[in-house]
Symmetry: C2
């Protein structure tokens, strides 16, 4: 941190319009005198110093050496969009650069790479450096791999979670809308179509509970709750707007991305995603840090279990459940974990518009509504309602069902939509479609969540809200040869072609004999305890 600036080598800051995602990149011309004198090389890490009205500012950045005057000249210091925003000064401002000392926590990172156990202070130092963008992508990847699988013990996961909370913003509902429990639900993800939040939130709010829900947009899935909700209403709400909405309706369904609740986690996810790493310790710290930062006091957590879900066996699910319970317990978050059937998608629609249609059908008590989505939402809402001290154990489900069937949940949802801002130009289902058909007669004995998600993404979801697919058959359903299994919807011809090509290689649906169908949590199968 204490690198010495080069006092005589002041450079003029230039914003370079390149989105390097979460990494600060500095672009210096090969002929820049500082590069030559100080012996910087490509991928060197540099520390950039400047000052604005508030005082001195500095960031760390990775160096890319440039040979093109149109990008930066020899007396300029180019900054990627991320770096420019973080430094917080205007173009043309003077800055100096120096060789960066490694971030202070690098010694702790090396201890973890070498398989050692880290203490509370070491994890806090790493997370502070991560949140301040002092780690390069390479260092972030090293941290993510070194803490992969069960390489963090439960104390370390607790300390990681605390560290993530400490560097983020914390929403204070008590100060804004009064004391009392703030209930929340979360699913660890991986199941397409699983839009229970949009049902659970209006139900528990109708019961009188505070449920200010923030959700994510899709990262690798065809739709996140925020994407699906956005079909119906505005979801980009600042905290002040959320407070107003929650005061009026006890609930909201907002995108959490602007809330800066766990900035270190957002940065770590930017490397976990391309590596497809989602280890138990990282998952627990990520989810619980965001929930606690969002001010939740009570949480129902859904862990779907299935051969193509994130959690593939009951052994794994139980282990993950204990880890969540241990960390939540120490952070005084009331947690109820529900293990659910993750063998196939939930509901029929996959993709923002198609999922929103499922949700509205359930709220409208349409007999054609997908029953699996309805049942699962009622089960989860029931567990949340049982956080109410006045509700007896076991009564939550019936209360939730009454709220849904009486139309109070629909009324509550409409109130939330109106408060957030009802979407006037509601997108519609993509006009182009293609039906994927069964190759043979039999029963559906497996549906691959990952494959289905990929087909829906190639069709354009979630960027194209009306794209995705509609599941026409479910596990155990009999099919004839040539009968449609699902219908792909797209808006663009190229997207439809992509999705169709993938589905024709492997639809993700397996046809076989009914006795080959793995039973939920059956022993001897993948689900065995």
């Amino acid at each position: 941190m204490s690198a010495n600036p080069l006092p005589k080598s002041s450079l003029s800051i230039r914003r370079v319009g390149i989105d390097t995602w979460r990494e600060n990149v500095a672009y210096l011309h090969r002929d820049c005198p500082v590069v030559r004198a100080a012996g910087f090389q490509a991928l060197s890490k540099v520390e950039i110093h400047t000052r604005n009205g508030q005082g001195p500012r500095s960031i760390l950045a990775v160096l890319n050496v440039v040979d093109d005057e149109r990008i930066v000249s020899a007396c300029e210091l180019g900054l990627s969009e991320e770096a420019f925003a973080r430094l917080g000064v205007v173009e043309g401002h003077a800055a100096t650069i120096a060789h960066a000392e490694p971030p202070g926590s690098i010694a702790a990172l090396h201890r973890k790479i070498n398989g050692e156990r880290l203490g509370r202070e070491e994890l806090a130092a790493i997370i502070r450096d991560v949140a301040q963008a002092r780690y390069s992508k390479i260092e972030l990847a090293a941290f993510v791999v070194a803490t992969n699988q069960y390489e963090l013990d439960r104390e370390e996961v607790l300390h990681l979670t605390e560290a993530m909370i400490a560097v983020g913003r914390r929403l204070d509902w008590k100060g804004q809308v009064g004391a009392g429990p703030v209930v929340d639900k979360h699913c660890i993800g991986g199941i397409p179509g699983n839009r229970t939040s949009m049902l659970v939130v209006p139900i528990v709010a109708a019961h009188g509970m505070l449920c200010p829900k923030t959700s994510s947009r899709a990262i690798t899935s065809p739709s996140g709750t925020a994407d699906t909700m956005e079909v119906l209403a505005n979801v980009e709400l600042g905290f002040e707007r959320m407070v107003e909405i929650v005061r009026a309706t006890r609930a909201c369904l907002a995108w959490g991305g602007t809330a800066d609740l766990s900035p270190a986690d957002d940065i770590l996810i930017s490397v976990e995603r391309p590596l497809s790493i989602d280890s138990p310790g990282q998952m627990v710290a990520s989810i619980l840090s965001k929930k606690i930062a969002a001010g939740s006091t009570h949480l129902v957590l859904d862990i779907p279990v299935g051969p193509s879900a994130k959690v593939r066996s009951m052994v794994e699910a139980q282990r993950l459940k204990k880890l969540f319970e241990y960390v939540a317990g120490h952070l005084r978050l009331q947690l109820d974990v529900v293990l659910s059937d993750g063998r196939q998608p939930i509901g029929r629609g996959i993709g923002p518009v198609l999922e929103a249609q499922d949700v509205m059908q359930v709220l409208q008590c349409d007999p054609a509504a997908p029953q699996d989505l309805r049942q699962k939402a009622l089960r989860l809402a029931g567990r949340m309602i049982e956080f109410d001290p006045d509700v007896r154990g076991g009564e939550g489900y019936a209360i939730a069902r009454d709220i849904l069937e009486s139309g109070r949940a629909l009324a509550q949802m409409n109130a939330i939509i109106d408060a957030q801002g009802r979407r006037q130009d509601m997108p519609t289902v993509g006009a182009l479609s293609f039906e994927v058909r069964a190759p043979a007669e039999g029963h559906v004995i497996a549906i691959d969540n990952l494959r289905i998600a990929r087909v829906a993404r190639l069709a354009g979801a979630p960027q194209v809200a009306g794209a995705g697919l509609l599941l026409l058959k479910r596990l155990g359903d009999p099919v004839h040869a040539g009968e449609p299994l699902y219908r792909i919807h797209a808006q663009f011809e190229a997207d439809l072609q992509f999705a169709r090509d993938l589905a024709e290689k492997d639809s993700g649906c397996q046809i076989g004999r009914l006795d080959q169908l793995p039973h939920e949590f059956a022993s001897g199968s993948l689900f065995s305890l």
Copy 2:
């Protein structure tokens, strides 16, 4: 690998003058129709397809989204220098892009991240993908961390080494200069000033052995053998030139960087370096793959041991030695490992010019020459000479000494320098200097190799050939308060100031009582067996 191109969305290739080191980066404008239609995001991995005279070409690249028309327009596909060179077509050429399937070996990478053992074919697939630049920096970092420490067993290290050899070029001396052993020496590094190669090579060549030595430039050290040799002669020789020189003088001292001997290793090093990871398995595979690719049949390997050397204890040194021996044995490379004293720098000079002066003093049998450098070079040369079947075990040292003292080594070195091209404009020692002094009376009881190296680098080495430092005191030497410990040399005022600031914070030399000096390989110390 089988991603589908977007046939209708052909883009015009543009070379973007940004050096992203070893990573392929594609720059696409945010308004590019392909980005919008296919939903690419920053850091997505894309596959780029085109064709040239030789047929179809494709590369994988990481995507940076650009908002500046001066860098790329909406109908262009910008490529970083590395990506442009790899694709091998001209600017304006048409290309299509598609979502990249992960490289075929990613499943194996995940198995390794999860702590599993990889087979020969899996390691070969990973190294092929690495050499073809199909891995992003994040994936490279994941591989490096997952194979860190002793997480590769010795079979895996052997297979990694074989895989690295298989993807590189191999030098064929037998076909060029006749059969017979090709001897080499290598030091695992980390000891400043340790320029024994420039003495060992002329000595063994004078004995009649073939010793075509390729060396590296400094990466994190103040000078590599190639940097120091370059003070005296041209070191950038193609293979054809090396063959001519070796035919004439039986030896050369060339830079190995252009030889493409282990391209996968060169790429892995680009992430190992910023992570400061240098694990046993990676070290063995890196060194042995390059030696075998360079055509060596016999190798003396120097492993310095000391508290600030790469290897810090005899236990660690012995373990590393066995691993080198195991892999070399299976690859039919005759290997003799020498464990040496790595408690302090070797010689007096640190930095290209200062080290070259030490080397020439030893060759000239100058009584003022640094005796530690002379002794170590003779010891290593002796071990190499004993590869000669006609030399009795134990006689090598005396033969080496005779060659040095008779002036034959100097004559041989002059012949090598003349053959490579004697440098006419030999650089001189930096004119600016500063003496770092002992704070108190006592004896020098520790010299920190890493600290000394950093001071020399800040002074400008190796980019400024005359920069570095001259050690005036060595372990065990008595000093008075205020007596100079070393003298920093620099060419630029700012560099001198940098180096001086660092040295004044901590010189790297510890003064104490003589009985506190750790003895080489003494038991009970860091060196205990």
